[in-house]
Protein backbone atom coordinates (compact mmCIF):
# COMPACT_ATOMS: atom_id res chain seq x y z
CA UNK A 1 0.00 0.00 0.00
CA UNK A 2 1.53 3.28 -1.03
CA UNK A 3 0.24 6.53 0.35
CA UNK A 4 1.20 9.40 -1.90
CA UNK A 5 0.52 12.05 0.70
CA UNK A 6 3.39 10.94 2.94
CA UNK A 7 6.10 13.56 2.64
CA UNK A 8 9.62 13.55 4.04
CA UNK A 9 10.40 16.65 6.09
CA UNK A 10 13.13 18.83 4.65
CA UNK A 11 16.47 18.28 6.40
CA UNK A 12 18.53 21.36 6.84
CA UNK A 13 22.33 21.12 6.81
CA UNK A 14 22.68 23.59 9.69
CA UNK A 15 20.10 21.81 11.82
CA UNK A 16 20.90 21.35 15.55
CA UNK A 17 21.73 17.86 16.91
CA UNK A 18 18.98 15.28 17.40
CA UNK A 19 16.99 16.78 14.54
CA UNK A 20 17.74 13.93 12.15
CA UNK A 21 16.74 11.12 14.56
CA UNK A 22 13.62 13.05 15.55
CA UNK A 23 12.73 13.62 11.91
CA UNK A 24 13.18 9.90 11.20
CA UNK A 25 11.01 9.01 14.19
CA UNK A 26 8.16 11.35 13.24
CA UNK A 27 8.31 10.19 9.62
CA UNK A 28 8.00 6.59 10.75
CA UNK A 29 5.18 7.32 13.20
CA UNK A 30 3.41 9.36 10.53
CA UNK A 31 3.59 6.45 8.11
CA UNK A 32 2.06 4.16 10.74
CA UNK A 33 -0.63 6.70 11.57
CA UNK A 34 -1.53 7.02 7.86
CA UNK A 35 -1.82 3.25 7.49
CA UNK A 36 -3.89 3.08 10.66
CA UNK A 37 -6.23 5.81 9.37
CA UNK A 38 -6.82 3.93 6.13
CA UNK A 39 -7.41 0.67 7.98
CA UNK A 40 -9.77 2.36 10.44
CA UNK A 41 -11.78 3.88 7.62
CA UNK A 42 -12.00 0.55 5.83
CA UNK A 43 -13.13 -1.03 9.09
CA UNK A 44 -15.83 1.65 9.39
CA UNK A 45 -16.97 0.89 5.84
CA UNK A 46 -17.15 -2.85 6.57
CA UNK A 47 -19.08 -2.20 9.79
CA UNK A 48 -21.56 -0.02 7.90
CA UNK A 49 -21.96 -2.68 5.21
CA UNK A 50 -22.76 -5.22 7.93
CA UNK A 51 -25.18 -2.85 9.63
CA UNK A 52 -27.09 -2.00 6.44
CA UNK A 53 -27.10 -5.58 5.12
CA UNK A 54 -28.31 -7.16 8.34
CA UNK A 55 -30.92 -4.53 9.06
CA UNK A 56 -32.45 -4.02 5.62
CA UNK A 57 -31.69 -7.14 3.60
CA UNK A 58 -31.77 -9.82 6.27
CA UNK A 59 -34.16 -7.99 8.65
CA UNK A 60 -32.04 -9.22 11.57
CA UNK A 61 -30.25 -6.10 12.84
CA UNK A 62 -26.92 -6.57 14.62
CA UNK A 63 -26.81 -4.85 17.98
CA UNK A 64 -23.12 -3.98 18.06
CA UNK A 65 -22.41 -2.37 14.68
CA UNK A 66 -23.44 1.16 15.64
CA UNK A 67 -21.30 1.19 18.76
CA UNK A 68 -18.33 -0.31 16.94
CA UNK A 69 -18.62 2.27 14.15
CA UNK A 70 -18.63 5.08 16.72
CA UNK A 71 -15.50 3.79 18.47
CA UNK A 72 -13.64 3.29 15.20
CA UNK A 73 -14.68 6.83 14.29
CA UNK A 74 -13.29 8.24 17.55
CA UNK A 75 -9.98 6.53 16.78
CA UNK A 76 -10.01 7.85 13.20
CA UNK A 77 -10.59 11.40 14.46
CA UNK A 78 -7.76 11.24 17.01
CA UNK A 79 -5.30 9.63 14.62
CA UNK A 80 -6.21 11.88 11.69
CA UNK A 81 -5.34 14.97 13.75
CA UNK A 82 -1.54 14.43 13.88
CA UNK A 83 -1.56 13.44 10.19
CA UNK A 84 -3.23 16.76 9.34
CA UNK A 85 -0.96 18.66 11.75
CA UNK A 86 2.17 17.34 10.01
CA UNK A 87 0.85 18.47 6.63
CA UNK A 88 -0.25 21.87 7.92
CA UNK A 89 -3.87 21.20 7.01
CA UNK A 90 -5.50 22.37 10.24
CA UNK A 91 -7.33 25.66 9.95
CA UNK A 92 -5.07 28.56 10.88
CA UNK A 93 -5.77 32.28 10.75
CA UNK A 94 -2.78 33.75 8.97
CA UNK A 95 -3.98 37.29 8.29
CA UNK A 96 -1.79 38.80 11.01
CA UNK A 97 0.94 36.20 11.48
CA UNK A 98 2.04 36.17 7.84
CA UNK A 99 2.54 39.93 7.84
CA UNK A 100 4.93 39.93 10.79
CA UNK A 101 8.64 40.58 10.14
CA UNK A 102 10.60 37.28 9.98
CA UNK A 103 12.30 37.63 13.35
CA UNK A 104 9.11 38.48 15.21
CA UNK A 105 7.28 35.79 13.28
CA UNK A 106 9.74 33.16 14.57
CA UNK A 107 9.34 34.37 18.16
CA UNK A 108 5.56 34.32 17.86
CA UNK A 109 5.75 30.87 16.26
CA UNK A 110 7.85 29.55 19.14
CA UNK A 111 5.41 31.10 21.61
CA UNK A 112 2.34 29.41 20.14
CA UNK A 113 4.27 26.14 19.77
CA UNK A 114 5.22 26.26 23.46
CA UNK A 115 1.58 26.84 24.32
CA UNK A 116 0.60 23.90 22.11
CA UNK A 117 3.22 21.71 23.81
CA UNK A 118 1.84 22.67 27.20
CA UNK A 119 -1.65 21.55 26.17
CA UNK A 120 -0.48 18.38 24.43
CA UNK A 121 1.57 17.26 27.44
CA UNK A 122 -1.47 17.73 29.66
CA UNK A 123 -3.68 15.91 27.16
CA UNK A 124 -1.24 12.99 27.07
CA UNK A 125 -1.04 12.77 30.89
CA UNK A 126 -4.74 13.25 31.59
CA UNK A 127 -5.72 11.00 28.70
CA UNK A 128 -3.46 8.24 30.04
CA UNK A 129 -4.93 8.57 33.54
CA UNK A 130 -8.44 8.50 32.10
CA UNK A 131 -7.63 5.40 30.06
CA UNK A 132 -6.24 3.57 33.11
CA UNK A 133 -9.20 4.53 35.29
CA UNK A 134 -11.78 3.50 32.70
CA UNK A 135 -10.23 0.07 32.25
CA UNK A 136 -12.95 -1.54 34.35
CA UNK A 137 -15.83 0.15 32.51
CA UNK A 138 -17.19 -2.06 29.73
CA UNK A 139 -18.76 -0.85 26.49
CA UNK A 140 -22.49 -1.55 26.15
CA UNK A 141 -22.70 -4.06 23.33
CA UNK A 142 -19.04 -4.93 22.84
CA UNK A 143 -16.78 -6.95 25.16
CA UNK A 144 -14.14 -4.21 25.34
CA UNK A 145 -13.22 -1.82 28.17
CA UNK A 146 -13.48 1.95 27.67
CA UNK A 147 -9.72 2.21 28.12
CA UNK A 148 -9.41 0.91 24.55
CA UNK A 149 -11.30 3.99 23.35
CA UNK A 150 -9.86 6.64 25.67
CA UNK A 151 -6.29 5.57 24.94
CA UNK A 152 -6.63 7.10 21.46
CA UNK A 153 -6.44 10.59 23.03
CA UNK A 154 -3.01 10.25 24.68
CA UNK A 155 -1.62 8.42 21.63
CA UNK A 156 -2.78 11.27 19.40
CA UNK A 157 -1.39 13.79 21.90
CA UNK A 158 2.06 12.14 21.86
CA UNK A 159 2.12 12.08 18.05
CA UNK A 160 1.15 15.77 17.86
CA UNK A 161 3.66 16.52 20.61
CA UNK A 162 6.53 15.04 18.60
CA UNK A 163 5.45 16.90 15.46
CA UNK A 164 5.29 20.17 17.40
CA UNK A 165 8.69 19.60 19.02
CA UNK A 166 10.15 18.95 15.60
CA UNK A 167 8.56 22.10 14.20
CA UNK A 168 9.78 24.19 17.15
CA UNK A 169 13.26 22.71 16.86
CA UNK A 170 13.41 23.66 13.22
CA UNK A 171 12.26 27.20 13.98
CA UNK A 172 15.01 27.45 16.61
CA UNK A 173 17.73 26.01 14.40
CA UNK A 174 16.99 28.04 11.32
CA UNK A 175 18.33 31.45 10.61
CA UNK A 176 16.21 31.52 7.49
CA UNK A 177 12.57 32.46 7.38
CA UNK A 178 10.41 29.36 7.22
CA UNK A 179 6.73 28.54 7.14
CA UNK A 180 5.45 26.40 10.00
CA UNK A 181 4.73 22.80 9.08
Amino acid sequence: MSLGATSEPARHPAAPPLVAPLARLTALLDRWACHACVLLFMAILVTMVLQVTFRYLLAAPLTWTEELARYLYIWACWLGAPVALRRGNHIVITVVSERLPPRLSRIVGLGTQTMALFFLVQLAIQGAILAVRSHTVEAITLPIPWSMIYVAAPISAVLMLLETIQAAWRTLGHRTQEARP
Partner: protein, 425 residues
Protein backbone atom coordinates in the same frame (compact mmCIF):
# COMPACT_ATOMS: atom_id res chain seq x y z
CA UNK B 1 -9.91 33.35 36.56
CA UNK B 2 -13.05 34.60 34.93
CA UNK B 3 -14.33 34.05 31.41
CA UNK B 4 -12.99 37.40 30.17
CA UNK B 5 -9.28 36.45 30.17
CA UNK B 6 -10.21 33.07 28.66
CA UNK B 7 -11.79 34.77 25.66
CA UNK B 8 -8.91 37.26 25.27
CA UNK B 9 -6.28 34.55 25.46
CA UNK B 10 -8.17 32.49 22.88
CA UNK B 11 -8.54 35.42 20.46
CA UNK B 12 -4.89 36.34 20.97
CA UNK B 13 -3.61 32.85 20.17
CA UNK B 14 -5.92 32.74 17.16
CA UNK B 15 -4.56 35.99 15.74
CA UNK B 16 -0.99 34.83 16.32
CA UNK B 17 -1.49 31.94 13.92
CA UNK B 18 -1.91 28.92 16.18
CA UNK B 19 -4.03 26.15 14.65
CA UNK B 20 -7.61 26.97 15.58
CA UNK B 21 -8.39 23.76 17.48
CA UNK B 22 -5.28 24.21 19.63
CA UNK B 23 -6.25 27.79 20.50
CA UNK B 24 -9.56 26.63 21.93
CA UNK B 25 -8.06 23.59 23.65
CA UNK B 26 -5.14 25.37 25.28
CA UNK B 27 -7.06 28.42 26.48
CA UNK B 28 -9.69 26.12 28.03
CA UNK B 29 -6.92 24.13 29.70
CA UNK B 30 -5.37 27.24 31.22
CA UNK B 31 -8.80 28.37 32.44
CA UNK B 32 -9.54 24.98 34.03
CA UNK B 33 -6.09 24.86 35.69
CA UNK B 34 -6.41 28.40 37.02
CA UNK B 35 -9.74 27.44 38.59
CA UNK B 36 -8.42 24.16 40.08
CA UNK B 37 -10.84 22.05 38.10
CA UNK B 38 -10.35 18.34 37.47
CA UNK B 39 -8.41 18.05 34.20
CA UNK B 40 -9.62 14.53 33.45
CA UNK B 41 -12.67 16.15 31.92
CA UNK B 42 -10.50 17.50 29.08
CA UNK B 43 -9.82 14.16 27.28
CA UNK B 44 -13.21 12.90 28.44
CA UNK B 45 -15.17 15.86 26.95
CA UNK B 46 -13.12 15.86 23.76
CA UNK B 47 -13.75 12.16 23.18
CA UNK B 48 -17.43 12.42 24.09
CA UNK B 49 -17.95 15.06 21.39
CA UNK B 50 -16.80 12.61 18.70
CA UNK B 51 -18.81 9.73 20.15
CA UNK B 52 -21.90 10.29 18.00
CA UNK B 53 -23.37 8.08 15.32
CA UNK B 54 -25.00 10.99 13.38
CA UNK B 55 -21.60 12.73 13.15
CA UNK B 56 -20.28 9.70 11.31
CA UNK B 57 -22.26 10.99 8.30
CA UNK B 58 -19.69 13.80 7.96
CA UNK B 59 -16.80 11.69 6.57
CA UNK B 60 -19.20 10.01 4.16
CA UNK B 61 -20.34 13.39 2.80
CA UNK B 62 -16.67 14.33 2.43
CA UNK B 63 -15.90 11.03 0.71
CA UNK B 64 -18.75 11.61 -1.76
CA UNK B 65 -17.45 15.08 -2.63
CA UNK B 66 -13.91 13.75 -3.01
CA UNK B 67 -15.05 10.87 -5.22
CA UNK B 68 -17.03 13.28 -7.42
CA UNK B 69 -14.06 15.58 -7.88
CA UNK B 70 -11.64 12.71 -8.54
CA UNK B 71 -13.89 10.72 -10.86
CA UNK B 72 -14.63 13.49 -13.36
CA UNK B 73 -18.23 13.54 -12.16
CA UNK B 74 -17.78 17.27 -11.60
CA UNK B 75 -17.12 17.71 -15.35
CA UNK B 76 -20.33 15.91 -16.25
CA UNK B 77 -22.31 18.11 -13.88
CA UNK B 78 -20.71 21.19 -15.39
CA UNK B 79 -21.57 20.13 -18.96
CA UNK B 80 -25.12 19.38 -17.92
CA UNK B 81 -25.49 22.79 -16.23
CA UNK B 82 -24.08 24.45 -19.35
CA UNK B 83 -26.82 23.05 -21.56
CA UNK B 84 -29.44 24.14 -19.01
CA UNK B 85 -28.54 27.82 -18.54
CA UNK B 86 -25.61 28.60 -20.88
CA UNK B 87 -27.95 30.37 -23.27
CA UNK B 88 -28.72 33.26 -20.88
CA UNK B 89 -26.77 36.49 -20.98
CA UNK B 90 -23.67 36.02 -18.81
CA UNK B 91 -24.08 32.32 -19.66
CA UNK B 92 -21.10 30.75 -17.93
CA UNK B 93 -21.72 32.70 -14.74
CA UNK B 94 -25.21 31.18 -14.59
CA UNK B 95 -23.69 27.77 -15.32
CA UNK B 96 -21.40 28.36 -12.36
CA UNK B 97 -24.39 28.93 -10.05
CA UNK B 98 -26.48 26.01 -11.35
CA UNK B 99 -23.43 23.72 -11.25
CA UNK B 100 -23.02 24.63 -7.58
CA UNK B 101 -26.69 23.91 -6.92
CA UNK B 102 -26.39 20.42 -8.43
CA UNK B 103 -23.08 19.78 -6.69
CA UNK B 104 -24.66 21.03 -3.44
CA UNK B 105 -27.10 18.13 -3.65
CA UNK B 106 -24.19 15.71 -3.41
CA UNK B 107 -21.57 17.36 -1.27
CA UNK B 108 -21.93 19.03 2.08
CA UNK B 109 -19.20 21.62 2.14
CA UNK B 110 -18.56 24.99 0.53
CA UNK B 111 -14.84 24.31 0.37
CA UNK B 112 -15.30 21.08 -1.64
CA UNK B 113 -17.46 23.01 -4.08
CA UNK B 114 -15.04 25.92 -4.43
CA UNK B 115 -11.99 23.68 -4.81
CA UNK B 116 -13.48 21.01 -7.11
CA UNK B 117 -16.11 22.54 -9.34
CA UNK B 118 -14.51 25.98 -8.87
CA UNK B 119 -11.34 24.93 -10.70
CA UNK B 120 -13.33 23.90 -13.78
CA UNK B 121 -15.63 26.91 -13.64
CA UNK B 122 -12.93 29.55 -13.31
CA UNK B 123 -10.93 28.01 -16.15
CA UNK B 124 -13.96 27.83 -18.46
CA UNK B 125 -14.98 31.40 -17.69
CA UNK B 126 -11.53 32.95 -18.15
CA UNK B 127 -10.98 30.94 -21.36
CA UNK B 128 -14.06 32.63 -22.72
CA UNK B 129 -12.88 36.11 -21.82
CA UNK B 130 -14.69 36.73 -18.55
CA UNK B 131 -12.57 38.81 -16.13
CA UNK B 132 -10.75 36.42 -13.79
CA UNK B 133 -11.84 38.26 -10.66
CA UNK B 134 -15.50 38.11 -11.74
CA UNK B 135 -15.19 34.35 -12.36
CA UNK B 136 -13.63 33.91 -8.92
CA UNK B 137 -16.33 36.03 -7.28
CA UNK B 138 -19.20 34.04 -8.83
CA UNK B 139 -17.49 30.79 -7.82
CA UNK B 140 -17.01 31.94 -4.23
CA UNK B 141 -20.54 33.31 -3.87
CA UNK B 142 -22.21 30.24 -5.36
CA UNK B 143 -20.08 27.85 -3.28
CA UNK B 144 -21.98 28.99 -0.20
CA UNK B 145 -25.08 27.26 -1.59
CA UNK B 146 -23.30 23.93 -0.94
CA UNK B 147 -23.96 23.68 2.80
CA UNK B 148 -27.50 25.10 2.52
CA UNK B 149 -28.88 22.66 -0.02
CA UNK B 150 -28.60 19.24 1.65
CA UNK B 151 -26.53 17.28 2.40
CA UNK B 152 -24.66 19.67 4.64
CA UNK B 153 -21.90 19.16 7.17
CA UNK B 154 -22.72 22.38 9.12
CA UNK B 155 -26.45 21.51 9.29
CA UNK B 156 -25.55 17.98 10.39
CA UNK B 157 -23.38 19.33 13.21
CA UNK B 158 -26.06 21.85 14.18
CA UNK B 159 -28.60 19.00 14.33
CA UNK B 160 -26.32 16.98 16.61
CA UNK B 161 -25.65 19.96 18.90
CA UNK B 162 -29.22 21.23 19.09
CA UNK B 163 -30.76 17.75 19.12
CA UNK B 164 -32.97 18.58 16.13
CA UNK B 165 -34.10 16.13 13.43
CA UNK B 166 -31.41 16.13 10.73
CA UNK B 167 -34.00 15.14 8.11
CA UNK B 168 -36.03 18.27 8.92
CA UNK B 169 -32.97 20.52 8.79
CA UNK B 170 -31.94 19.07 5.44
CA UNK B 171 -35.40 19.50 3.94
CA UNK B 172 -35.55 23.03 5.36
CA UNK B 173 -32.45 23.92 3.35
CA UNK B 174 -33.94 23.28 -0.09
CA UNK B 175 -35.98 26.47 -0.52
CA UNK B 176 -33.39 28.85 1.00
CA UNK B 177 -30.73 27.26 -1.22
CA UNK B 178 -32.81 27.72 -4.36
CA UNK B 179 -33.58 31.30 -3.31
CA UNK B 180 -29.86 31.97 -3.00
CA UNK B 181 -29.31 30.61 -6.51
CA UNK B 182 -32.15 32.74 -7.89
CA UNK B 183 -30.86 35.87 -6.15
CA UNK B 184 -27.31 35.32 -7.40
CA UNK B 185 -28.55 34.71 -10.95
CA UNK B 186 -30.62 37.90 -10.87
CA UNK B 187 -27.52 39.78 -9.78
CA UNK B 188 -25.45 38.15 -12.55
CA UNK B 189 -28.12 38.96 -15.14
CA UNK B 190 -27.97 42.61 -14.11
CA UNK B 191 -24.17 42.74 -14.10
CA UNK B 192 -24.02 40.92 -17.45
CA UNK B 193 -26.22 43.62 -18.97
CA UNK B 194 -24.04 46.37 -17.57
CA UNK B 195 -20.75 44.77 -18.58
CA UNK B 196 -22.22 43.29 -21.81
CA UNK B 197 -21.22 39.67 -21.32
CA UNK B 198 -22.18 37.24 -24.08
CA UNK B 199 -24.26 34.08 -24.07
CA UNK B 200 -23.93 30.59 -25.51
CA UNK B 201 -26.24 29.38 -28.28
CA UNK B 202 -29.01 27.14 -26.99
CA UNK B 203 -28.06 23.45 -27.23
CA UNK B 204 -29.71 21.28 -29.85
CA UNK B 205 -32.09 18.65 -28.57
CA UNK B 206 -29.59 15.97 -29.44
CA UNK B 207 -26.80 17.66 -27.51
CA UNK B 208 -29.12 18.09 -24.56
CA UNK B 209 -30.01 14.39 -24.55
CA UNK B 210 -26.35 13.30 -24.83
CA UNK B 211 -25.21 15.50 -21.98
CA UNK B 212 -28.12 14.55 -19.77
CA UNK B 213 -27.38 10.89 -20.41
CA UNK B 214 -23.71 11.38 -19.55
CA UNK B 215 -24.62 13.14 -16.31
CA UNK B 216 -27.58 10.91 -15.47
CA UNK B 217 -25.88 8.39 -13.15
CA UNK B 218 -24.14 11.21 -11.27
CA UNK B 219 -27.41 13.06 -10.91
CA UNK B 220 -28.83 9.98 -9.19
CA UNK B 221 -26.55 10.50 -6.15
CA UNK B 222 -28.94 12.91 -4.38
CA UNK B 223 -31.82 10.56 -5.18
CA UNK B 224 -30.03 7.74 -3.36
CA UNK B 225 -29.10 10.06 -0.55
CA UNK B 226 -32.56 11.44 0.07
CA UNK B 227 -34.71 8.60 -1.17
CA UNK B 228 -33.89 6.26 1.69
CA UNK B 229 -33.85 9.02 4.25
CA UNK B 230 -37.16 10.60 3.28
CA UNK B 231 -39.19 7.45 3.24
CA UNK B 232 -37.82 7.06 6.74
CA UNK B 233 -35.87 3.86 6.20
CA UNK B 234 -32.28 5.06 6.42
CA UNK B 235 -30.75 7.12 9.19
CA UNK B 236 -28.77 10.11 7.82
CA UNK B 237 -25.52 8.24 8.47
CA UNK B 238 -26.66 5.17 6.53
CA UNK B 239 -27.93 7.36 3.68
CA UNK B 240 -24.62 9.23 3.56
CA UNK B 241 -22.81 5.90 3.55
CA UNK B 242 -24.96 4.60 0.67
CA UNK B 243 -24.35 7.77 -1.37
CA UNK B 244 -20.60 7.57 -0.76
CA UNK B 245 -20.48 3.92 -1.83
CA UNK B 246 -22.54 4.81 -4.92
CA UNK B 247 -20.23 7.70 -5.88
CA UNK B 248 -17.15 5.49 -5.39
CA UNK B 249 -18.70 2.70 -7.47
CA UNK B 250 -19.41 5.20 -10.25
CA UNK B 251 -15.80 6.38 -10.16
CA UNK B 252 -14.13 2.98 -9.89
CA UNK B 253 -16.38 0.58 -11.79
CA UNK B 254 -18.50 2.58 -14.22
CA UNK B 255 -16.48 5.65 -15.27
CA UNK B 256 -13.17 3.96 -14.42
CA UNK B 257 -11.49 7.24 -13.55
CA UNK B 258 -10.50 6.11 -10.05
CA UNK B 259 -8.17 3.10 -9.87
CA UNK B 260 -8.44 0.58 -7.06
CA UNK B 261 -5.00 1.54 -5.85
CA UNK B 262 -6.11 5.18 -5.53
CA UNK B 263 -8.57 4.16 -2.83
CA UNK B 264 -6.17 4.16 0.17
CA UNK B 265 -5.13 7.72 -0.74
CA UNK B 266 -8.77 8.80 -1.04
CA UNK B 267 -9.61 7.18 2.31
CA UNK B 268 -6.62 8.85 3.96
CA UNK B 269 -7.67 12.23 2.61
CA UNK B 270 -11.21 11.62 3.89
CA UNK B 271 -9.98 10.73 7.38
CA UNK B 272 -7.64 13.73 7.40
CA UNK B 273 -10.28 16.24 6.24
CA UNK B 274 -12.70 14.76 8.73
CA UNK B 275 -10.16 15.02 11.54
CA UNK B 276 -9.62 18.72 10.78
CA UNK B 277 -13.36 19.34 11.13
CA UNK B 278 -13.82 17.01 14.09
CA UNK B 279 -10.93 18.53 16.05
CA UNK B 280 -12.81 21.83 15.74
CA UNK B 281 -16.05 20.15 16.83
CA UNK B 282 -14.34 18.47 19.79
CA UNK B 283 -12.39 21.47 21.08
CA UNK B 284 -15.25 23.91 20.44
CA UNK B 285 -17.58 21.69 22.40
CA UNK B 286 -15.04 21.63 25.25
CA UNK B 287 -15.13 25.42 25.12
CA UNK B 288 -18.94 25.40 25.01
CA UNK B 289 -18.90 23.23 28.13
CA UNK B 290 -16.51 25.57 29.91
CA UNK B 291 -18.66 28.59 29.01
CA UNK B 292 -21.81 26.78 30.15
CA UNK B 293 -20.21 25.99 33.54
CA UNK B 294 -19.39 29.67 33.89
CA UNK B 295 -23.10 30.45 33.30
CA UNK B 296 -22.34 32.48 30.17
CA UNK B 297 -25.44 31.29 28.24
CA UNK B 298 -27.71 32.12 31.21
CA UNK B 299 -26.27 35.60 31.64
CA UNK B 300 -26.39 36.36 27.93
CA UNK B 301 -29.92 34.96 27.72
CA UNK B 302 -31.06 37.10 30.62
CA UNK B 303 -29.50 40.14 28.99
CA UNK B 304 -31.17 39.52 25.62
CA UNK B 305 -34.54 38.74 27.16
CA UNK B 306 -34.22 41.86 29.29
CA UNK B 307 -33.92 43.93 26.10
CA UNK B 308 -36.78 42.38 24.18
CA UNK B 309 -38.96 39.29 23.94
CA UNK B 310 -39.96 39.81 20.31
CA UNK B 311 -38.73 36.72 18.36
CA UNK B 312 -38.13 38.67 15.15
CA UNK B 313 -36.16 41.38 16.91
CA UNK B 314 -34.06 38.76 18.72
CA UNK B 315 -33.35 36.95 15.46
CA UNK B 316 -32.29 40.18 13.76
CA UNK B 317 -30.03 41.03 16.70
CA UNK B 318 -28.42 37.57 16.58
CA UNK B 319 -28.02 37.93 12.81
CA UNK B 320 -26.12 41.19 13.10
CA UNK B 321 -23.96 39.67 15.83
CA UNK B 322 -23.25 36.56 13.73
CA UNK B 323 -22.37 38.60 10.63
CA UNK B 324 -19.74 40.41 12.69
CA UNK B 325 -18.52 37.15 14.28
CA UNK B 326 -18.41 35.57 10.81
CA UNK B 327 -15.84 38.12 9.67
CA UNK B 328 -13.40 37.04 12.35
CA UNK B 329 -14.15 33.41 13.00
CA UNK B 330 -14.23 30.15 11.16
CA UNK B 331 -17.87 29.18 10.56
CA UNK B 332 -17.96 25.75 12.18
CA UNK B 333 -16.11 26.81 15.31
CA UNK B 334 -18.40 29.83 15.69
CA UNK B 335 -21.47 27.62 15.30
CA UNK B 336 -20.34 24.98 17.79
CA UNK B 337 -19.52 27.54 20.46
CA UNK B 338 -22.61 29.69 19.90
CA UNK B 339 -25.37 27.08 19.46
CA UNK B 340 -25.44 26.18 23.17
CA UNK B 341 -25.30 29.89 23.99
CA UNK B 342 -28.24 30.95 21.84
CA UNK B 343 -30.45 27.87 21.82
CA UNK B 344 -32.06 28.36 25.26
CA UNK B 345 -32.97 31.96 24.37
CA UNK B 346 -34.38 30.92 21.01
CA UNK B 347 -36.52 28.19 22.49
CA UNK B 348 -37.80 30.35 25.35
CA UNK B 349 -39.36 32.83 22.90
CA UNK B 350 -40.81 30.08 20.68
CA UNK B 351 -38.52 30.22 17.64
CA UNK B 352 -38.37 26.85 15.85
CA UNK B 353 -34.83 25.42 16.22
CA UNK B 354 -34.99 24.18 12.60
CA UNK B 355 -35.63 27.75 11.43
CA UNK B 356 -32.86 29.07 13.65
CA UNK B 357 -30.44 26.43 12.34
CA UNK B 358 -30.91 27.51 8.73
CA UNK B 359 -30.64 31.20 9.64
CA UNK B 360 -27.46 30.56 11.59
CA UNK B 361 -25.79 28.37 8.95
CA UNK B 362 -26.68 30.72 6.07
CA UNK B 363 -25.41 33.66 8.09
CA UNK B 364 -22.11 31.95 8.90
CA UNK B 365 -21.74 30.88 5.25
CA UNK B 366 -21.89 34.56 4.30
CA UNK B 367 -19.13 34.89 6.91
CA UNK B 368 -16.93 32.60 4.77
CA UNK B 369 -17.02 35.37 2.13
CA UNK B 370 -16.06 38.25 4.41
CA UNK B 371 -12.51 39.31 5.26
CA UNK B 372 -10.28 39.02 7.21
CA UNK B 373 -11.24 35.40 7.92
CA UNK B 374 -13.08 34.01 4.88
CA UNK B 375 -12.30 30.37 4.26
CA UNK B 376 -14.06 30.21 0.86
CA UNK B 377 -12.23 33.38 -0.25
CA UNK B 378 -8.90 31.75 0.68
CA UNK B 379 -9.70 28.62 -1.31
CA UNK B 380 -10.99 30.50 -4.37
CA UNK B 381 -8.04 32.90 -4.34
CA UNK B 382 -5.74 29.88 -4.40
CA UNK B 383 -7.68 28.13 -7.17
CA UNK B 384 -7.96 31.32 -9.28
CA UNK B 385 -4.34 32.32 -8.56
CA UNK B 386 -5.44 35.81 -7.59
CA UNK B 387 -4.50 37.86 -4.51
CA UNK B 388 -6.90 37.48 -1.58
CA UNK B 389 -7.74 41.21 -1.66
CA UNK B 390 -8.78 41.11 -5.33
CA UNK B 391 -11.14 38.17 -4.79
CA UNK B 392 -12.54 39.83 -1.67
CA UNK B 393 -13.32 43.06 -3.53
CA UNK B 394 -14.87 41.26 -6.51
CA UNK B 395 -17.03 39.10 -4.25
CA UNK B 396 -18.37 42.03 -2.20
CA UNK B 397 -21.30 42.90 -4.58
CA UNK B 398 -22.60 39.33 -4.31
CA UNK B 399 -23.00 39.73 -0.56
CA UNK B 400 -26.05 41.91 -1.31
CA UNK B 401 -28.28 39.15 -2.82
CA UNK B 402 -27.08 36.65 -0.20
CA UNK B 403 -27.88 38.97 2.70
CA UNK B 404 -31.24 39.70 1.07
CA UNK B 405 -32.05 35.97 1.19
CA UNK B 406 -30.86 35.82 4.81
CA UNK B 407 -33.25 38.63 5.72
CA UNK B 408 -36.06 36.89 3.81
CA UNK B 409 -35.71 33.58 5.60
CA UNK B 410 -35.29 35.35 8.94
CA UNK B 411 -38.51 37.30 8.53
CA UNK B 412 -40.53 34.49 6.88
CA UNK B 413 -39.87 31.24 8.81
CA UNK B 414 -42.29 29.42 6.49
CA UNK B 415 -39.68 29.53 3.71
CA UNK B 416 -37.69 27.09 5.84
CA UNK B 417 -40.41 25.22 7.72
CA UNK B 418 -42.97 24.59 4.98
CA UNK B 419 -41.17 21.77 3.16
CA UNK B 420 -40.18 19.70 6.23
CA UNK B 421 -43.76 19.95 7.50
CA UNK B 422 -45.15 18.94 4.10
CA UNK B 423 -42.92 15.85 3.85
CA UNK B 424 -42.46 14.75 7.45
CA UNK B 425 -45.70 16.07 8.96
Amino acid sequence: MTVGPLIWMWLGLMVLGMPLFLTMASSCLVYLMANDEILLSVPQRLTAAANSFPLLAAPFFMLTGLAMNTAGITHRIYDFAECLVGRFRGGLAHVNVIGSVIFAGMSGSAVADAAGLGTIEIKAMTDEGYPRDFAAAVTAASATIGPIIPPSVPLLIYGVLADVSIGRLFLGGFIPGLLMAAALMAMIRWMAQKRSFGAHPAPTLREFVTRTRKAFLSLMTPVILFGGMLIGVFTPTEAAFAAAVYALTLGVVIYREIRWRDLPRIFLETVETNAVVLMLVMTASLMGWVLARAQVPQQLGAWILGTTRDPLYILLMINVFLLIVGCFMEALAAMIILVPVFLPVIQSVGIDPVHFGLVMVLNLMIGTLTPPVGIVLFVVARVAKLPFEVVTRATAPFLVPLIAVLVLITVFPELVLWLPRLVLG
